[in-house]
Each structure stands twice: as structure tokens, then as C-alpha cells.
């Protein structure tokens, strides 16, 4: 297979410029699904360090292993080689308690929004053992405080089918954050929304990140979304994925939608886009 132009490897990249402790560390991590002749490499040896409190966006052509990185970090997938260290210890069997949100909000239809959001508290300690006692008081207030932050004040008692797609996605973010995770993993959370709703939710997510101070790993196809939200963007090559570019995004916060039309922002977008176009054509050349 034709290899791409020498790609900057990030093994030796100094992270020391950022004094925050490392939240996520992948070292020489690769993932292959299946075995023998049917083996499908999903992620080439990848090394990635994410500092505590960073907002990292993963972009790249579809099927490049972005979601695989997310699933590695959450412990849903085990690495074939290498290690994944999250919060200072190796990701073994689950119990990381990370917050996750997908494109599909998957609210349970038999529960009110409030109770849906409280679902993680039923599972994660120390909330779990207090759930019966506090679900009507403290936890409920917690859920409603979050709902208020995402602009859903007063919707806690509604059922999921009474809410629009954008509202459900806000509730989904609340559910991912209710147990105050150190790490929030988002897999194309706004992929199914219309442009305007999406932009609205960018601001909400930015606000949530600025108040909750969690480390966020966001997988997205939308380069504007990545530029708007992230403090760092990693571009991945086509399957099996590798990280081909790693850029910091230094625009001042809070960022606004208007900013995404300014020349600096557009230039960043075009740079990212070029990487992805390259990656796509390389994979097509390789396949031919």
C-alpha cells in the first residue's frame, strides 16, 4: 500500500507547554476487528495525548476510526496493541463513568425528561446508593439546573415524544453530564439537526464546557463545528485511521457563529478540508 507523505508523528511532540495533567493517553494503540483473513484494521498505531480540560475534535473521512477512538477511550473497545490510559490508569474493564452522547438521543419513552436525565445517577456511584433517597429532591434539582442551562427550563416533566429533535439533543447532553464526568465523549451529537438548531447547540455546548470544565472528545464531520467548539483539532486519515494533523484552535471564547465567517476561521477550515480531501484520495488510490 502506498504510504502518504511523511506524516508528522506525535510521539515526541512536547506536551509540556501545557501544564495540565494528561487526561487521555493513547500510545501505539491500534485496533483490528475480526481475526485472520477477515481482519479489518480500524485504527493504525496511534499516539495521542489529551490534557485535562481540553476540548478536542476528531475529524476525518467517514469510516476512518474516529468513533473507534471514542469507544477505546470509553472502554467499549479493547485495543489490539498498545495501551489506553484515561485519568491516569489503564482502561480495563469499563467503570470509567464517562459521559457519552450520540447522534440518536435515545431517551427512554416511558420516562419523563427529568427521569431520563437522572438515569446515569441510578448507575454510577456514589449517586447510585443514594438514588432512592434523593431522586425526588437533590437529584431532581440537579437535573433541572442542567435543563435550565441548556434552555429547557420547565420541560423536565414532559415526555420525550413531546420534544423536538433539537430539544431532545439538549436533554441528551444533560444526561451525559448529570453525574459530573471528568470526560465527555460526543459522537456526532448534532449530525441529525438542521443548520440553525445545530449552531444554537454549539453555543450551548460551549457554555456547558466552559462551566463544567470537563475534558471533551468530539467526533464530527462538520469542520465548522470542530472549529467553533474545539481547542484542538485532530485530523485522521482514511481507514485504517491515523492522525495526520493536530492543530490548536486559539480563537477567543466565547466564540460566536458570526466568527465562523471570518477569514482566519475560513482559512482553518480550508486547511482541515485539504487534509481530509488528501486522505480520501489516498485511500481511493490505495484501493484501486
Amino acid at each position: 500500500m502506498m504510504r502518504m507523505q511523511p506524516v508528522s508523528e506525535f510521539k515526541g511532540m512536547p506536551v509540556s507547554e501545557n501544564p495540565a495533567p494528561v487526561a487521555i493517553e493513547l500510545s501505539d494503540t491500534s485496533v483490528t476487528f475480526g481475526r485472520g483473513a477477515k481482519a479489518v484494521p480500524a485504527l493504525s498505531k496511534t499516539t495521542l495525548r489529551i490534557a485535562d480540560g481540553e476540548f478536542v475534535a476528531l475529524v476525518g473521512p467517514s469510516g476512518c476510526g474516529k468513533s473507534t477512538i471514542l469507544r477505546l477511550v470509553s472502554g467499549l473497545v479493547q485495543p489490539t496493541t498498545g495501551v489506553v490510559i484515561v485519568g491516569g490508569r489503564e482502561v480495563a474493564a469499563r467503570a470509567l463513568r464517562v459521559g457519552m452522547a450520540f447522534q440518536n438521543p435515545t431517551m427512554l419513552p416511558w420516562m419523563t425528561i427529568e427521569r431520563n436525565i437522572m438515569l446515569p445517577l441510578k448507575i454510577v456511584e456514589p449517586y447510585r446508593s443514594q438514588f432512592r433517597k434523593l431522586r425526588r429532591t437533590e437529584f431532581r434539582d440537579k437535573a433541572n439546573a442542567l435543563l435550565e442551562q441548556v434552555g429547557l427550563k420547565g420541560f423536565g416533566g414532559k415526555f420525550p415524544w413531546q420534544l423536538s429533535g433539537g430539544m431532545l439533543q439538549r436533554a441528551n447532553l444533560c444526561r451525559a453530564l448529570i453525574h459530573e464526568p471528568r470526560l465527555l465523549l460526543l459522537d456526532e451529537p448534532f449530525g441529525a439537526l438542521d443548520q440553525f438548531t445545530r449552531e444554537e447547540l454549539w453555543s450551548i455546548l460551549q457554555q456547558l464546557w466552559m462551566t463544567h470544565k470537563a475534558t471533551v472528545l468530539l467526533v464530527t464531520h462538520d469542520l465548522r463545528e470542530a472549529g467553533f467548539l474545539a481547542s484542538r483539532i485532530c485530523v485522521m486519515s482514511a481507514r485504517p485511521g491515523r492522525i495526520v494533523d493536530d492543530s490548536r484552535v486559539t480563537f477567543a471564547r466565547p466564540r460566536t457563529v458570526a466568527m465562523t465567517f471570518e477569514p482566519d476561521f475560513v482559512a482553518l477550515n480550508q486547511k482541515l478540508r485539504a487534509f481530509i480531501v488528501d486522505a480520501r484520495s489516498a485511500s481511493q488510490a490505495g484501493a484501486a
Binding site: R97, G99, L108, W110, I123, V124
Partner: protein
């Protein structure tokens, strides 16, 4: 309940009454012998006259049905949960279950009688064996349709398989489960009566069997009416419970009704 709704209900009731009136008139006009098709009025009078004799048999049939049904539900839920959660269990149990449910249960009754003697036990077992299948299928389907994303969200939180089953899987199967209960309770009834007919000296099935050999056709029909009445009553009870427990799944109907 709205006026329109009431009118609808009244119409349905009227049509049901009309059915019996037509039956009565048909028998009167054709001079039908009550050895072949008794009139509804005859059947009802027989039913009321013989009620003191029928009563213990009704209780017997009801008891065997309910016992078989409860056991069948227990077995069905357990088996359905296992099949819905484990791929291996699905692959092994499903063909066996389909095979078993394809056997006409009347062919199984003699085996139960052979093992346990005639009477209550084979009736309960027949009811059980006929009613658990729809429950297994529905529970398994409900569990298998859990969204993978939600499962991932919960696993990432450190949820155990049981946590997921308890908080998501089982509540999700409730509409399927209650829909299957309605069917299963009727099936249990069929099973119990079937077994009583073949091998028992108690129960409605047995009463009907005896009555038909005595050419007491009105009593046979009275037995049928009792069975139909009990079947409708049980179905109605479970529909009511279904509506209470799983209203979230049928909210569209509520919206139209209100």
C-alpha cells in the same frame, strides 16, 4: 369519555345483542332441533339452572388456567430474557421452541397423563405449555430491540448487564409483554379445557364432554358460553392492566381520544 365514544360503544353493544337475536330467530324460523343448535334463550336458562352444579367446575377450570398461566408467564419471561440477552441461547432455544410450539397440544396431553395421572396436573401443564410461547417471543423481541447507542452510553457509565436489563431492557418489553399476556391467557384457557376434555373428571371441559355424550346439547353450549365469558373477562382484565402500565406506548390513541 366523549359522547362520540359512548355512541360508538352503544353501537357495538347493540350489534352484539343483534347477533344473539338473529341466532334465536334463525332457530325459531327453521325449527332447528335443540340437539343440533339450541337457541340462545335455552342456553341461558340452562346456564342459570345448572349454575350451582357448574360452579365448582368453573372454579376448577379457572384455577387450572390461572395456575398454568402464572407458571407459563414465569417460564416465558425467564426464557425470553435469556434468549433476548444471549445470542447462543437464542440460537439453541429458538429452533427447539418453534418445534415444540408446532406440536398440537392435544397430542401432548396423553404424555402428561402418563406421567402425572389424569386430573389437575396435566391441565395445568397443558395450559402452561400452550401459553408460554407468545410470552417468550415477545420478551425476546423487546430485549433485542434495545438501541445499541443507549447500551453504549450505559456501559460507558459502568453499568452491568443486569443494570441495563433492569432499567432499559425489561421496561422496554412491557408493551410487548402485556400484549402477549392477553393472548397467553386465552391460550392457557384453551390448554386447560383441552386437557380436561381428554383426561379429567372435573372442569368445564369435562362437563361438556359428559353433556355431549348424554345429548344434553344446551348444556354443552352453556359450557361454551361459560368459557367464552371467562375468556372475555380475562382478556379484558389484562387489557386494562396493559393500559395502566404501558400507556406510554399507546399515547397516540390517547391523543386521538382526548
Amino acid at each position: 369519555m366523549s359522547l362520540l365514544d359512548l355512541r360508538q360503544k352503544a353501537w357495538s353493544a347493540a350489534l352484539i345483542v343483534l347477533f344473539f337475536v338473529a341466532w334465536e330467530l334463525f332457530c325459531l324460523m327453521t325449527g332447528m332441533s335443540d340437539l343440533i343448535l339450541p337457541r340462545p334463550s335455552q342456553i341461558f336458562t340452562t346456564l342459570i339452572e345448572k349454575l350451582p352444579i357448574l360452579w365448582p367446575h368453573i372454579l376448577q377450570t379457572l384455577a387450572t388456567t390461572m395456575l398454568g398461566f402464572v407458571l407459563g408467564v414465569g417460564l416465558g419471561v425467564a426464557l425470553g430474557a435469556v434468549i433476548g440477552v444471549s445470542k447462543t441461547a437464542y440460537d439453541t432455544c429458538y429452533p427447539l421452541l418453534v418445534g415444540f410450539s408446532s406440536i398440537p397440544k392435544v397430542a401432548v396431553v396423553p404424555i402428561f397423563v402418563l406421567w402425572f395421572g389424569s386430573g389437575t396436573v396435566p391441565a395445568v401443564l397443558t395450559a402452561l405449555s400452550i401459553c408460554f410461547f407468545p410470552i417468550v417471543v415477545n420478551i425476546a423481541t423487546g430485549l433485542a430491540t434495545t438501541e445499541p447507542e443507549l447500551e453504549d452510553v450505559l456501559k460507558a457509565l459502568g453499568a452491568s448487564k443486569f443494570d441495563i436489563l433492569w432499567n432499559v431492557g425489561l421496561p422496554r418489553t412491557m408493551p410487548f409483554f402485556f400484549a402477549s399476556l392477553k393472548v397467553a391467557v386465552s391460550y392457557a384457557f384453551v390448554g386447560a379445557v383441552l386437557s380436561e376434555t381428554v383426561a379429567s373428571n372435573r372442569g368445564i371441559g369435562n362437563v361438556m364432554m359428559t353433556a355431549s355424550s348424554n345429548f344434553n346439547v344446551p348444556l354443552v353450549f352453556a359450557g361454551l358460553f361459560v368459557l367464552a365469558g371467562l375468556g372475555v373477562a380475562l382478556y379484558a382484565i389484562f387489557s386494562l392492566i396493559e393500559g395502566q402500565v404501558t400507556g406510554w406506548a399507546t399515547r397516540k390513541n390517547d391523543l386521538i381520544a382526548t
